[in-house]
């Protein structure tokens, strides 16, 4: 009797297992399509992406996705050469400025027809997230991860604040409080900075991030006029330069301090208690959990707060910036060079990443970071997985989209050069911004003139 019961149980288990494995063992009846997936989900995310691909292939047995994780160095060049080649990858992970650039050049296709044909419900995305993926009225990709949370968060070391006499549960909320903490904590010698309060950054991206916390703006809503050299802009850059020179001993100290360091590898001053406040994007949660899990769960040691604003400006408030630079507003775009069946397969995968429960939703949850799909972020388990989930949601609400164009790469480079000139004392903050504005606006006007002529 016992034997027969055991036998029956074994049969039942096997049937259940076979039911569970059924999708995984599904066979392709037609022709198999190989989809090279060019992406930058390196470090611990590669295994997570492999899992996502496994789920997708189980549901789509005729599509084989090859996970091609790329190195971060020279990312833009790798992407450009791959996209422009006669045999590009099947699907490409690109940032918003690149998506616009490729769209303008005809290298990628709009996906509106696929969205309609497949009945994809794009209303599941936050409007601000999906909105960033439109160029000239056409949709070019589905977002994942969020474009938001690139700029508004900072991570801080509670022990360092506590030791310096500050309340670790009330970290700096304004520029002025940030200065106070940084002055108290920064230790420098002839060789540079030994212990750092915080680094404000010294390139164009950093300037734009701080600009929005002083109620400034980068460009007009239609993207045709640049506005960053406003009095708020000049005040912001002056503050950044003075802070860096007076507290950190100059911009060279900052380059040296962070030289050869890598947060995602755990080789970073943050893990040695030598930097108190670090402005990071939401990917840092996953990296921290991956490289230092003990520290991740020790919330007495570190905390998260929203980027400080100018306390002297009554109109300023906590504000994040989305879709401005090359580290945000990722989407999965489909090259024009491929035959329709491969493009259709690429869309199926893009849709899976974007809206499927086992796609971006699970993938981002595993990294403790938010999703561009509203429903995914309502998962109550986020509060257990991410000790600062409340702050994440609060920061996400501060994000403001920036209007850009396909020439954003060139504009950002000019702005960075001018901001550097201010940091190195070659020009005053005002002159640097005005010169950059003149050069950038001329380039932008030229772009719009050509664009308008082509679209008459």
């Amino acid at each position: 009797m016992k034997v027969s019961r055991l036998f029956g149980l074994a049969i039942a288990v096997m049937m259940l297992l076979s039911l569970g494995l059924a999708p995984a063992l599904a066979q392709c009846d037609g022709e198999e399509i190989e989809l090279e997936f060019m992406n930058w989900w390196g470090a611990h995310r590669e295994a997570l992406m492999d899992t996502l691909i496994g789920h997708f292939e189980a549901e789509n047995p005729c599509i084989k996705v090859i996970n091609q994780v790329q190195p971060w160095d020279n990312r833009a060049e790798l992407l450009a050469t791959a996209a422009a080649s006669s045999n590009p990858p099947g699907i490409i992970m690109s940032t918003r400025p690149e998506t616009y650039q490729f769209a303008l050049s005809g290298l990628i296709i709009p996906i509106d027809a696929f969205v309609e044909a497949e009945g994809t419900d794009i209303s599941v995305f936050y409007e601000g997230e999906i909105g960033l993926q439109y160029w000239n009225g056409e949709l070019y990709g589905l977002p994942m991860p969020t474009a938001g949370l690139i700029s508004p968060l900072y991570f801080y070391n509670k022990n360092m604040l506590r030791d310096a006499g500050f309340d670790p549960e009330n970290p700096p909320q304004t520029w002025q409080e940030l200065e106070e903490v940084a002055r108290a904590l920064t230790v420098a010698d002839a060789m540079g900075v030994e212990v750092l309060g915080t680094n404000l950054g010294s390139n164009g991206d950093a300037f734009v991030f701080w600009l929005y916390t002083n109620n400034g703006r980068y460009s007009s809503d239609d993207g045709r006029t640049l506005l960053f050299n406003s009095p708020e802009g000049v005040e912001t850059l002056e503050w950044m330069v003075n802070f860096t020179n007076e507290i950190n001993g100059g911009v060279e100290n900052m380059t040296d301090f962070f030289q050869d360091t890598n947060f995602s590898q755990g080789d970073h001053p943050f893990f040695d208690d030598t930097v108190a406040i670090l402005h990071l994007n939401s990917a840092a949660f996953g990296h921290l959990n991956n490289v230092a899990p003990d520290l991740y769960w020790d919330t007495d040691s570190w905390g998260v707060m929203i980027r400080p604003y100018n306390g002297d400006n009554p109109d300023a408030k906590h504000t994040g910036v989305t879709g401005y630079n090359f580290v945000g507003a990722w989407a999965y775009t489909i090259p024009a060079a491929h035959p329709p069946e491969k493009q259709a397969a690429a869309y199926k995968f893009a849709e899976f990443i974007g809206v499927h429960e086992h796609g971006g939703c699970e993938f981002l949850f595993a990294q403790n970071r938010p999703s561009p799909v509203k429903a995914c972020n309502e998962n109550p388990e986020y509060y257990e997985q991410n000790p600062y989930w409340d702050k994440v949601k609060e920061a996400l609400a501060t994000d403001t989209p920036v209007q850009i164009t396909p020439v954003q790469g060139q504009l950002a480079e000019i702005l960075t050069n001018s901001v550097e000139e201010a940091f190195f004392g070659v020009k005053s903050a005002e002159d640097a911004l005005n010169d950059a504005h003149a050069e950038m606006q001329a380039l932008l006007d030229e772009f719009w003139a050509e664009f308008d002529a082509d679209n008459m």
Binding site: N74, A76, E77, A80, T81, A83, A84, Q101, F102, L104, S105, G106, L107, A190, M191, G192, V251, E252, N253, T255, D256, Q259, D260, G409, Q410, E413, T416, N417, E420, E421, F424, V426
Partner: protein, 323 residues
């Protein structure tokens, strides 16, 4: 009878050999062409055709994604380079600065080491190998190692400077130190020039040094009146190669300071500017025009150098024979 047959056979062989020689002589040009064909084909496919295509592209507005014939814009790219492109002047200045120091320094350094390695001491083969080892280290690896050496706080160079009481240098973060850092890095690959110098030194006949010694010449006399004059063809060759290579410096700068060119773009060399225009801004036609300008500069400089070499390069008695 047998001797007669053998003689006929030998005669027949000799006739065949003569005929083969005659055929060879008559068709010597054809045979010569057959031998150089692989190189020539490679030159046409991999050098001449891309060069001509690049020249054509430089007169077009070829951008990424241009699928049909790129629009012909004549000299617009060249006009923009000379009238509007601020980074053209900056990158050219940076490159000339780099060349002005790195080429002579590397020549002097390689020549000096070659002189030492030409001495007759025990174990010289080992020393020669050791000095050549850096040259076989891949450039990427060498540059990464150098980046560690140049680290302001932990790098070997600054640790050494502090040890001797000097102020540390911000090798990679200060606009003033970027170019010297690149020049320092350029010395790393001196081995190839050193080997050529060493070969040149070993071809100088000993009797010239012996004659100088009998006439009471000192070591300096031997160096400046025998070695250096007889080495001028080798110096000329290394100088020419150094200049051509120096104008095209790219990989080490790209790895060490990235495409931006370091703080204030103090390390933005010419090829980095070409690269940025092509692969960051996707203006391939413009980048092609920049490449053509670089080619012309190198071409003119090479012609000038070859032309002036008659005045300072010593090729033995060839000129005397002609006169």
């Amino acid at each position: 009878m047998q001797a007669s047959l053998k003689s006929k056979h030998v005669q027949h062989d000799a006739t065949r050999k003569v005929r083969l020689q005659e055929w060879w002589f008559r068709n010597r040009a054809l045979i010569g062409y057959a031998f150089i064909f692989p190189w020539f084909a490679g030159f046409i496919i991999f050098d001449a055709m891309p060069f001509i295509y690049n020249l054509y592209l430089s007169f077009t507005d070829y951008q990424i994604g241009t699928v049909s014939t790129p629009p012909w814009i004549g000299l617009d790219n060249y006009t923009e380079i000379f009238t509007e492109d601020k980074l053209f002047g900056k990158s050219m200045y940076n490159t000339l600065y780099y060349l002005g120091y790195s080429v002579p320094l590397r020549l002097i350094f390689a020549f000096f080491i070659a002189l030492i390695l030409n001495l007759r001491v025990r174990g010289m083969e080992l020393y020669r190998t050791l000095f050549y080892v850096p040259t076989v280290v891949p450039l990427v690896a060498a540059t990464v190692i150098f980046a560690g050496f140049l680290n302001t706080r932990y790098g070997f160079l600054n640790q050494f400077l502090v040890l001797i009481g000097a102020a540390p240098v911000r090798w990679l973060s200060s606009p003033d130190a970027i170019k010297p850092s690149l020049i320092l890095l350029s010395l790393w690959g001196f081995g190839a020039q050193m080997i050529i110098f060493l070969a040149g030194l070993q071809s100088i006949p000993d009797d010239l040094y012996e004659a100088a010694a009998i006439d009471g010449g000192t070591g300096w006399h031997r160096l400046f009146y025998i070695t250096v004059p007889l080495m001028t063809p080798t110096i000329f060759f290394n100088l020419l190669m150094g200049l051509i290579g120096g104008f095209q410096v790219f990989e080490q700068v790209f790895i060490l300071i990235g495409t931006h060119g370091g703080p204030l773009q103090a390390g933005l060399v010419y090829m980095l500017h070409v690269y940025n225009k092509a692969f960051r801004d996707f203006e391939f036609g413009y980048a092609a025009a920049l490449s053509v300008i670089l080619f012309l500069i190198i071409f003119v400089l090479t012609i000038l150098l070859v032309y002036t070499s008659n005045r300072w390069v010593f090729y033995g008695d060839a000129q005397d024979d002609e006169t």
